[in-house]
């Protein structure tokens, strides 16, 4: 599903964030991306989401070669990927419902379908009662769940998360991880960058560990 072949990423300041990276993630797999701060985890996820382009090498996602994807096709490509961020990236002047509906509105879904899917998605993350609230009226954990609901509302094949539990206490973090596991169980490929070693050691998923932009080691359960 996601395949990196000898990928380099050099930022304009000539800093090499990723060097000669190769790995493969299977369809329907769930994996963690770990490594010290500055190891290149966010950079790697940005290459998959085409927020950045690699300087050298090849990135294949869902059989598409990202190196050759023209800029005008990026929006349509991104609709196959759900993104979850540490700082939620919610729109603060729109209700929870409107935030979650955004990917569907963008994709041009009709009204009834939007209502049905948004409610299904909010139901999954346990926020069905809060759809009329503004994001600021929610706790940090709830906001993160709104972000997740938005990421999965158009049933993407791939779910990427960059430190989704970064600001949450251990109990909430476990809840969030369980959510990701549920999505994985229905076939979504899930890839999560995280620092939270205590949490992921208890979970039976592969870890891809980075060290200074290179693959450190692979642990396969």
């Amino acid at each position: 599903m996601i395949q990196f072949t000898d990928v380099y990423k050099r930022y304009p300041n000539r800093y090499e964030a990723l060097s000669g990276l190769s790995f493969h993630l299977n369809k329907g797999e769930m994996a963690f991306l770990t490594g010290h701060s500055g190891a290149g985890k966010s950079t790697l996820l940005k290459l998959i989401a085409l927020i950045e382009r690699c300087s050298h090498g090849q990135v294949l996602v869902n059989k598409q070669n990202l190196t050759h994807l023209p800029k005008r096709k990026i929006p349509y490509y991104r609709r196959q990927i759900g993104l979850v961020f540490q700082d939620h990236n919610l729109l603060h002047d729109r209700t929870v419902f409107d935030n979650v509906a955004l990917p569907l509105v963008i994709a041009g879904e009709n009204h009834r379908e939007i209502g049905r899917r948004v409610r299904a998605s909010l139901d999954k993350v346990g926020l069905l009662g809060k759809e009329r609230n503004l994001p600021i009226a929610l706790s940090g954990g709830e906001q993160q769940r709104v972000g997740i609901a938005r990421a999965v509302v158009n049933r993407p094949a791939i779910l990427l998360a960059d430190e989704p539990t970064g600001n949450l206490d251990p109990d909430l973090s476990r809840d969030i991880m369980q959510l990701f596991e549920q999505f994985n169980q229905v076939g979504t490929t899930v890839f999560i960058a995280t620092h939270d070693h205590d949490l992921i050691h208890t979970l039976p998923y592969r870890q891809i560990q980075l060290h200074q932009g290179r693959l450190a080691k692979r642990e396969v359960e």
């Binding site: 929006p75 991104r78 729109l91």
Partner: protein, 310 residues
Amino acid sequence: MSLSTIMTNYFLRHVQVMLFSLGQLWRQPVASLMTVTVIGIALALPAGLFVLQQNMTTVSEQWDDSNQITLFLKTTISQVEGKQLSLDLKKWPNIAQVQFQSAAQSLSEFRQLSGLGDLLDSLPNNPLPAVIIIYPAEDIVSPDAIGSLLARLEAMPQVEQAQLDMEWLQRLRSINETIHRGISILAILLSLSVLLIIGNTIRLAILSRQSEIKVMKLVGATDRFVRRPFLYTGFWYGLVGGIVAWITLMLTLSVISSPIDELIGHYGSNFDLQWFSLTMLTTLPSIGVVLGAAGAWLAVSRHIHMIEPN
């Protein structure tokens, strides 16, 4: 999905975005009102000046009809010769009407108007010349045509002097033309500034929504999708600005209409206020919408594609 469903969906989405943009303006009433007022004034000003200038044209056109040339004959010309001359002149194709006034008639007219009868009686002979008043043919209205007629008359041996009574009318006409061009330039400049005002307002709106735009692009929004609400914002600014311009214009006209009526009433004005206000009610908002959409387009085409998630 049938074609008509797709069309309906597309149409509904546009209506939604339109209303959404209007709602956003509504939520910042003071800022929106200020922008719309500036646009309104900028559009109303040239429109108002055009009304005044239009009326001035009407007045000067009315006066055009009263073009006439006065020929002062040499004192050596007798009354019979003078009369004959006026009959000859009447046959000219570029002269419509002539009116002969003998030296004696000139004297009595002057006596009447001036009240200096005693003084005139004491003079040994009549100092006033005979006069022929000439009304040029209807098609002789351009300054050139009148000028050449004037020159021909002046060159005749019997004529002491030919004088165009309304030379100042030409001056009025060229002043009028100058004003007309000035207003046209002003209108262009003000339209340009409306374009830039809207463009700049939209640019600020885009910049203040940068993080929102990034989020939308992250969940798959095309540039076109991101652009749409800003284009509609420009549309609303232009439309409401045009309506404000119309209201401003109508209020101003109602204040100055009675002196204008008085002025042009004397000259049988064909200025129809009702027709004018209807025309302006469609023209001003249309111009506003075009300028608003164009200004917004300038801003979105420069800024939206540069805002990318990072």
